[in-house]
């Protein structure tokens, strides 16, 4: 009696699925057939090229340049080490907090594992493979430790705060110390791309929060200045701002200040993304019900206290997914620094193409660069999409 009736014939199973989704009518069937034919043709062409014609050795032989530019090869351990710091921290946080940090941990681990595989095909050496594999594994070890709750959250927050400067010092070094200085002119490739985007988003965050608060301020001077800045920056293309940072900023700074080009580009990117962060944060601020502010006022909190302990914690949590999206577009936008002559991933690709050995390997190099960006951006957007759904943003 409890036996469920079998579903009507032809409503489940692969044949029914095909009929429902691909051949539901004559037009639909025709579309399916034509698309399949086109798809097969393209796949055969691309597959044939990738397997038999493409000279992937142009990429693997130059992999070091693609990854770190002209950074000295014997100092590459400093980059591995500086990657280990966020890897371990992301793992620990993923265990302790879950949610957003878990996506960061998974992305970091997967990307470094992928780099290890790539290095295995290149002449960089086994040490690089081991280092990146170790970093990828460290994320998961740290995750287990974090799950046990062995590290207090306060310590973790503090560690995150000092991690970026630490990484920066590790990579840059100091003249005359055992940690020899490496000039920013030698930073390049994926290293520079990721550094520009990370520094841009991290530094622009506090600035963007201030601007967002300023735009909603009741003080006219503060509001007009903030609104003016945000709209001005959002109305012009990033290239013009980079152009300003590269050529015009030195004219406005004291002659003794010799900021190097990478620092100026970082400044330009930070000032640019601050305006976009501000608009994201403003969205978050607007999502806080007025009741929260009124309750805080009723409790006798001052304006500053209300913002710091009531409004901002809720607002910033709500804008994390939007800021991940901003980080992704910033990562893509770092390619624009090639226009002012910095050697990020795309311009490294062009430099590689200028070598006589890689003549005619344009497709290989560009496909590789595109694939790197795609993997990074797609992984992050998918992770952020999942987090968004888990948090219930937009559905609650």
């Amino acid at each position: 009696m409890d036996e469920a009736l079998a579903p009507p014939k032809g409503t489940i199973g692969p044949v029914a699925w095909l009929r429902g989704n691909l051949f539901s009518g004559p037009v639909n069937g025709l579309v399916t057939l034509m698309l399949s034919a086109a798809l097969v043709w393209v796949a055969l062409q691309v597959g044939g090229w990738a397997v038999s014609e493409a000279r992937w050795n142009v990429v693997t032989d130059n992999l070091r340049v693609f990854l770190i530019g002209r950074y000295p090869g014997d100092l590459a351990w400093r980059i591995w080490l500086s990657l280990a710091i966020p890897s371990v921290l992301a793992g620990l946080s993923a265990g302790a907090y879950g949610r957003t940090t878990r996506m960061l941990a998974v992305t970091l681990s997967a990307v470094q594992a992928l780099i290890a595989v790539l290095i295995a095909t290149s002449p960089i050496g086994i040490l690089g493979v081991l280092a990146y594999s170790a970093n990828a594994a460290a994320v998961w070890v740290a995750f287990v430790i974090g799950l046990r709750g062995l590290i207090p959250r306060r310590v973790l927050t503090a560690a995150w705060l000092v991690s970026l400067p630490t990484c920066f010092i590790l990579i840059a070094g100091f003249t005359g110390t055992p940690l020899a200085s490496v000039g920013t002119n030698d930073w390049g490739g994926l290293l520079l791309t990721v550094l520009l985007a990370t520094v841009g988003i991290v530094l622009s965050f506090p600035l963007g929060v201030l601007l967002a608060l300023g735009r909603r301020s009741t003080l006219p001077v503060v509001r007009i200045l903030s609104t003016g800045y945000i709209e001005l920056i959002r109305g012009v293309p990033l290239v013009t701002i980079l152009f300003m940072a590269d050529l015009i900023l030195p004219l406005f700074l004291p002659a003794e200040w010799r900021l190097d080009r990478v620092a100026r580009a970082m400044g330009g990117i930070t000032l640019f993304s601050a305006a976009y962060v501000a608009e994201n944060v403003r969205g978050g601020l607007q999502s806080i019900p007025t009741g929260q502010v009124e309750a805080a006022q009723a409790l006798g909190l001052t304006g500053v206290q209300t913002n710091i302990s009531i409004v901002l914690p809720q607002a910033l949590r709500a804008v994390i997914p939007a800021n991940v999206g901003l980080f992704i577009s910033l990562l893509k936008d770092t390619t624009l620094v090639s226009i002012i002559g910095l050697l990020e991933l795309l311009s490294v690709g062009r430099a590689v193409l200028a070598q006589p050995d890689s003549l005619g390997a344009r497709m290989e190099v560009y496909v590789f660069v595109a694939a790197v960006f795609f993997v990074l951006c797609y992984a992050m957007s998918q992770a952020s999409y999942r987090v968004e759904r888990a948090l219930g943003v937009g559905t609650r």
Partner: protein, 393 residues
């Protein structure tokens, strides 16, 4: 005694809200103004040392550089001012064409994403992901070097119906020039537009009175189509003379030329932005409640009517604001023209800055122009947005 308590109650200056507000604003102003003044001082010394000076006088000087793509007459003997104008027109042109094409392709992508055909919707999704997750600059470089520069050289141009030609250097299409009868022909066009407007007004009035309007509308369209055709002959010979591109010893002469850089930039901007517009359109359509679709079908509307009369007008309300920001992005992204050698505002600005040694006035002009374009686009789209929004009681 009384005055004593009063004094004790009086709010001290450092807790007086009005004083505090004033102090905070003054402090903020100081924090902004002082660096600006200091920087202006540095700038004055720097320009004096380099003997650059500051001013817009150079705009009247001879530019001395050629520009490949120009919508208005321009030569190396023209002024910097006209060079700037050429750049501005190029930016506006590529953005306007790009916005139209990206919208059409984007709507296609958005609708394909929602297609009941699994393969089609998956392909559209793949396209969107590929475009959104790779940098536009890289896409432009790939389109320029790996597609357009792989076209055959000038001597082996691909002929399209023997009137247009495509090769490495660009696309050559017939150009049209006005002849004597052109003004008369334009008059007929004006009459055609007037006929359409009048029909519309009359039709609306009759509709309000509940009388049928279909025949009137058909009549209006027929008249509007017929008028320019009649005008063509009424003008006494062709009002336009066509100028076909002709292959000379080195290159094509005559006709209108669209350079490879323009074609690559336009293609890149269109396919990149269409992916984003596709997502906007999909979001808008999905946000229309399902009941609307079911009700429209229940009323017996055809699939086309359901989409055109019920779903789209409602989706438009949700689509317009994010669409505006995509249009703005496309316009700003056109500044990447420099990577494919198309002479847009930014590229010409850079050349001007290099030649005159006056980067500051040039960048002020370039950024100011982009800002004006952005603000004008926002304004137009906001006006349109107000029209499509439902007026709620």
């Amino acid at each position: 005694m009384l005055s004593g308590t009063h004094r004790a109650r009086a709010v001290p200056l450092w807790r007086d809200v009005r004083a505090l507000r004033f102090a905070v604003q003054a402090a903020v102003l100081l924090v902004v103004v002082v660096p600006v003044v200091l920087m202006a001082g540095n700038f004055a010394t720097a320009t004096e040392e380099r003997g650059l000076g500051f001013g817009f006088g150079f705009l009247r000087r001879q530019a001395g550089f050629e520009i490949d793509d120009s919508l208005v007459p321009y030569s190396a003997a023209s002024t910097y001012g006209s060079a700037f104008l050429v750049g501005l027109l190029n930016t506006l042109f590529v953005s306007a064409v790009g916005i139209i094409l990206a919208t059409i392709l984007g709507i296609g992508v958005g609708v394909a994403r929602l297609s009941p055909n699994w393969l089609l919707s998956r392909l559209a999704a793949g396209y969107v992901e590929l475009m959104r997750n790779t940098p536009l600059l890289l896409q432009l470089v790939i389109i320029f070097f790996l597609v357009f520069l792989q076209l055959p050289p000038v001597a082996e141009s691909v002929a399209i119906a023997n009137v247009a030609y495509l090769n490495q250097r660009g696309l050559y299409v017939p150009g049209a020039n006005a002849t004597d009868g052109f003004a008369i022909w334009i008059g007929f066009w004006v009459a055609a537009v007037a006929a359409l407007v009048i029909t519309r007004i009359v039709a609306r009035r009759r509709e309000d009175e509940g009388r049928p309007v279909r025949r009137l509308r058909t009549m209006g369209v027929l008249v509007a189509v017929a008028l320019p055709v009649i005008g063509w002959f009424a003008a006494g010979g062709s009002p336009l003379s066509f100028d076909l591109p002709v292959l000379g010893p080195f290159n094509f002469s005559g006709g209108v030329e669209f350079s490879t850089g323009f074609a690559a930039l336009l293609t890149g901007l269109v396919i990149y932005t269409a992916a984003f517009i596709g997502e906007v359109v999909r979001g808008g359509i999905q946000a229309v409640r399902r009941g609307q679709l079911e009700a429209a079908r229940a009323l017996g509307l055809s699939e086309g009517q359901v989409l055109g009369l019920v779903i789209f007008p409602q989706a438009l309300r949700i689509i317009v604001p994010p669409l505006t920001s995509q249009y703005l992005n496309l316009t700003k992204n056109s500044s990447l023209a420099i990577a494919v050698g198309y002479s847009d505002l930014f590229k010409i600005g850079q050349t001007m800055s290099n030649q005159t040694g006056q980067p500051v006035p040039v960048i002020v002009m370039v950024m100011g122009t982009y800002l004006v374009i952005s603000l004008a686009t926002s304004l137009l789209m906001n006006l349109y947005n107000r029209r499509v929004q439902v007026i709620e009681r």
